[in-house]
């Protein structure tokens, strides 16, 4: 395993340099930026606010509504603006990834809107988006059980690696590339996002989950530090 050379020279379990900052959208109730290397996501939270139209309201709890999208110039082949089936799916998966840490019953009939946009994409956009959104929710002062941390674990041929770049996602030798984005509630064994594309033996799943634990702990420290820095401003 140690013999495998990643295209950018990182160690197998090494994340790209992370950047995190809160308060990037002053108009929002909470906002954050999170980057893995060249993948940059910003998230803004609006709400809880009354949900319109009225028939969409849930009298038992708040509705978490996530909108994830790539900005048109975030990718080399310009992305046509507006929702695609891919972005709708990622938005839904992000709702599922974040809602377990929120106390939605506290705010019946309201909506919590989370807007996530990718400024620059180099793979791992949904995981960067989840990390930014989790920070933005905390920055908005919403009651939360914990932060959610997300990392795409992946595979190059038969070697499990963390946080793939686009170049690594396009790797074709041997068993090729696998992208296995995961999110979990910080410091717990609870996984809130599980997606996979590629080619990975079932017997490697345990190793992937261990690497997710280890790397999500690093994400958590970066998120916490940025939130603390934002609070003292």
């Amino acid at each position: 395993m140690a013999s495998f050379k990643r295209s950018d020279g990182r160690k197998v379990n090494e994340l790209r340099p992370m950047t995190a900052k809160v308060g990037v959208v002053p108009n929002a109730d909470g906002s954050a930026l999170f980057a893995f290397g060249d993948t940059i996501a910003i998230a803004a939270v609006y709400g809880p606010r009354l949900l319109h139209p009225q028939h969409m309201q849930d009298p038992k709890q708040a509705t978490l509504r996530v909108n994830y999208d790539l900005l048109s110039f975030s990718v080399y082949d310009r992305k046509k603006p507006g929702p695609s089936r891919r972005s709708q799916e990622i938005s839904k998966m992000t709702e599922y990834a974040l809602s377990p840490v929120l106390d939605l019953k506290e705010f019946p009939s309201t909506v919590i809107d989370v807007q996530i946009y990718i400024l620059q994409a180099d793979a791992g956009t949904r995981t960067a988006g989840i990390n930014a959104a989790s920070m933005a929710l905390a920055h908005a002062g919403l009651p939360m059980k914990n932060l959610v941390c997300s990392v795409a674990i992946g595979k190059q041929d038969t070697t499990v690696v963390a946080d793939l770049t686009k170049e690594e996602e396009d790797f074709h030798e041997g068993e090729g590339a696998t992208d296995f984005p995961l999110a979990k509630i910080a410091n717990s064994d609870q996984f809130t996002l599980v997606q996979l594309d590629g080619n990975i033996a079932t017997e490697l799943v345990a190793e992937v989950l261990e690497m997710a634990n280890e790397t999500c702990a690093e994400v958590y420290e970066v998120q916490k530090k940025a939130l603390k820095a934002g609070a003292t401003q």
């Binding site: 839904k92 709702e95 599922y96 377990p100 599980v194 997606q195 996979l196 079932t202 799943v205």
Partner: protein
């Protein structure tokens, strides 16, 4: 899970029962309903199949068209999977723009077929960079009694295995009325199948009825093949707000291999 159509009493009773390892219809938690495959839903399709899992029924059809290749794969044919949750198949479905589960179904079918590379797209080139075959798979449930994705993947694979290439007219258009005897190029040793695990309380189970699928708090779909002695996962997606624990995911990784083998053994004669 997607919108509770069952009463709180049914939900509670089912949760108590599955946590004891039992189900309303007497099956074990990891026991399939009867599975059946038949062919030739439409002679106008290049290949088509019908799958029944208990009362769930899904049909799939394969059509081929001649198109331009995508710029990032000039020497490969194209794959397109679509489908719809027809209001015919359930009182829960409505006409109109697709809701999330209607978007998710063909995307999950697409991912396991695409990522397993079962279709040899490099053999579907007529003229590199200019003209290639597009394989279009459409899946439609005819009766939704749960576990649609597993049934839809099975129907898609069955239809693909049976599909024959259309002829080509002198002018270079597809000739659907004079189909060739040539099969759609597939990696014969690969049989992608889908195994979806559902979770309610602390119980994991497979092949739910509609009622069980509604009660489930979260599910995780896996698309896999067997290559030599190893089971390879090509696609996965957790749908639902409840988390899975690390232990549950590790258990899942073993269970899906066992269920793959069981389903494949049952069907290898007809696939």
């Amino acid at each position: 899970m997607m919108g509770m159509d069952i009463s709180k009493n049914t939900f509670e009773a089912m949760k108590t029962l599955v946590e004891q390892g039992k189900r309303f219809d007497g099956r074990a938690l990891t026991e399939y309903r009867a599975v059946e495959i038949s062919y030739d839903v439409s002679k106008a399709a290049e290949g088509s199949a019908r799958v029944r899992m208990g009362k769930t029924e899904v049909i799939a059809g394969v059509k081929l068209t001649l198109d331009k290749p995508y710029p990032d794969s000039p020497e490969k044919g194209n794959l397109l999977v679509s489908g719809d949750l027809l209001p015919l198949a359930s009182p829960r479905y409505e006409v109109g723009p697709p809701k999330f589960d209607a978007i998710e179904l063909p995307r999950l079918v697409d991912r396991v077929i695409r990522e397993s590379h079962v279709i040899e797209l490099d053999k579907l080139v007529v003229k590199a960079g200019e003209k290639v075959w597009t394989v279009i798979i459409d899946v439609y449930p005819l009766n939704d009694d749960g576990n649609l994705v597993d049934a839809a993947v099975l129907a898609a694979i069955a239809a693909l295995k049976q599909a024959k290439m259309p002829g080509v007219t002198e002018a270079g258009f597809p000739d659907y009325k004079h189909r060739t005897k040539q099969a759609v190029p597939l990696a014969k040793e690969l049989v992608p199948l889908s195994v979806t695990l559902f979770k309610l309380g602390n119980a994991l189970f497979i092949d739910p009825t509609r009622e069980e699928a509604e009660a489930a708090e979260v599910k995780c779909n896996f698309g896999l093949t067997k290559q030599g002695k190893k089971h390879m996962i090509h696609s996965a997606q957790k749908t639902g707000a409840k988390p899975f624990t690390q232990k549950e995911l590790e258990t899942a990784a073993i269970l899906i291999g066992e269920k793959y083998d069981e389903l494949y053994d049952k069907l290898k004669k007809v696939l």
